[in-house]
Amino acid sequence: MVYLTRKAEFSASHYYHNPEFSAEENRRIFGKCNNPNGHGHNYTLEVTVKGAVDPKSGFVVDLKQLKDVMSREVLDAFDHRLLNKEVPEFFTRIPTTENLAIAIWQRLAPKLNMAQLHRVRVYETPDLFVDFFGEA
């Protein structure tokens, strides 16, 4: 089993707000992230797949295919967007880094027939990142 990781970057804006909370609770729980005008980050995405090395190609996965799936399923949808208003998953879920990692996993997993998805890592900043391994 060999693991392969591909990185990508996207920039997006978001805000945290739960309509089930009062205005005061939203401010207390989400702090500065509750600013309704939103704010943005340069996100770094790391997608790790695993598999046996193909004896003919020497690949775990064709990197071009992986890159294309990441671009089509994630970057085209997320890059330079307001996540709350433009990405359907976040119409009802708070676009935290945790939920970004889960949504990206759910977008990629059904499209990656050439290798098994192992980990989605999303850096919101260089000092904060979330790993999702598909665990329920």
Partner: protein, 147 residues
């Protein structure tokens, strides 16, 4: 799709600067020199330590969070950074009888977080002593993630 039962790992990085000297009273001067090399310099030396704390848990449906980052940040600030930043590690009580290697520092910090931070499950404490070396502790009986 619900996310309330999905388990995620959240990692936060912090920096602190401290000095230490690697020296064991159980070894002769010669042995200390051979074991610790430059790190045995009697006046000590310092590092900018990068600390990574990884916690895990179910992503809360209401908040979208494993735990509130403000809680983790304030815990680490009050219990770890306040204690270690700009200190000589050898003078702290935990290192009177224990060599302040980064291995031991990992274990000590892991124990502080494990005992005191109850809002999420502690997975790993990882410390970069320099950009070229790092140490990781996941508690006893728990293995490292396979990646």
């Amino acid at each position: 799709m619900k996310t309330g039962t999905m388990k995620a790992h959240l990692t936060r990085r912090y920096m602190f600067s401290a000095s230490h000297r690697l020296h064991s009273d159980e070894m002769s001067e010669e042995e200390n020199g051979a074991t610790y090399g430059k790190c045995n310099n009697p006046y000590g030396h310092g590092h900018n330590y990068m600390l990574e704390v990884t916690v895990s848990g179910s992503v809360d449906n209401q908040t979208g969070m494993v735990c509130n980052l403000v809680d983790l940040d304030s815990f680490v600030h009050d219990q770890i950074l306040e204690r270690y930043d700009h200190q000589n590690l050898n003078l702290l009580s935990e290192f009177v009888e224990m060599v302040p290697t980064t291995e031991n520092l990992c274990i000590v910090i892991y124990d502080i977080v494990k005992r005191g931070f109850i809002q999420a499950h502690l997975e790993t404490v990882r410390i970069e002593e320099t950009m070229m070396n790092s140490f990781e502790y996941c508690g006893e009986g728990e293995g490292l993630e396979d990646l």
